[in-house]
Symmetry: C2
Subunit: 124 residues, 2 copies
Amino acid sequence: MELNVIDAVKSSAQPMDAQAQVFKILTHPVRIAILNLLRDGEHCVCHLEAFLGFRQAYISQQLAVLREAGLIQDRRDGWNIYYRVVNPQIYAVLDAAHQLTGESAAGTAQLEAACPCPHCSPKE
Amino acid sequence: MELNVIDAVKSSAQPMDAQAQVFKILTHPVRIAILNLLRDGEHCVCHLEAFLGFRQAYISQQLAVLREAGLIQDRRDGWNIYYRVVNPQIYAVLDAAHQLTGESAAGTAQLEAACPCPHCSPKE
DNA sequence: CAATCACATTCAATTCCATGAATATGATTA
DNA sequence: TAATCATATTCATGGAATTGAATGTGATTG
């Protein structure tokens, strides 16, 4: 059991429940921020933690929601776990809402904090 | 006070809160269904009631949520109150989510029930 | 295999949302 | 102005989402 959102509603439920479920996942600024950070490809959790400035466990909780919804996937590489968006169409949803609310920037003004992962610290 | 969603978050809040608020409104199959019914222009409440098959008070509750969020507006004409979508860009959000979830129809398979409003019963 | 690292999960408390039931409102007609 | 119509609101309750705190897991290194 524990189907992801998209698969779950494809069969038995009402048509608009699938949309509603997706929106439910997006009803959270941190989750939106995570998805925005993943626009340029995969990132490890320490990245997200550093850029968003929240506790690790909290980030992990939100990642779990996105993961169980089937919106992101994880991949382990040594010590780090890298997350990536499964279906880029999710950004069409985010962008449409962004246009509707008429905001200025795409909302990715990060902290540019230091990250200890091998992609950050070692060479460059 | 009681600002609508779009106005409320434009000033003081975080960027992605505005998007999150919009998504929160859409986290409800009945509200999505109402918006879909309003795709072809305004409808009176009795229409929505007849087409969706819910109690009047329930429809009215959901209309209130949409209205207070600034997504729809009402107009009185005699006995009936007609609702319309304020900004059609909301459909870009719905359609994007619809595409993401890969549904077949636009989810507007209504009941085609009878409605007592003057637009329905009197002449045609 | 013990220590350590990056990350995940569980638990509990609070707050928020959904919804049925009952009732209110405000325009309209007689 | 009283009755009636379409629609709105209030209230109460059960259930779900949020989040802090603590702890667990599994790969990696020595």
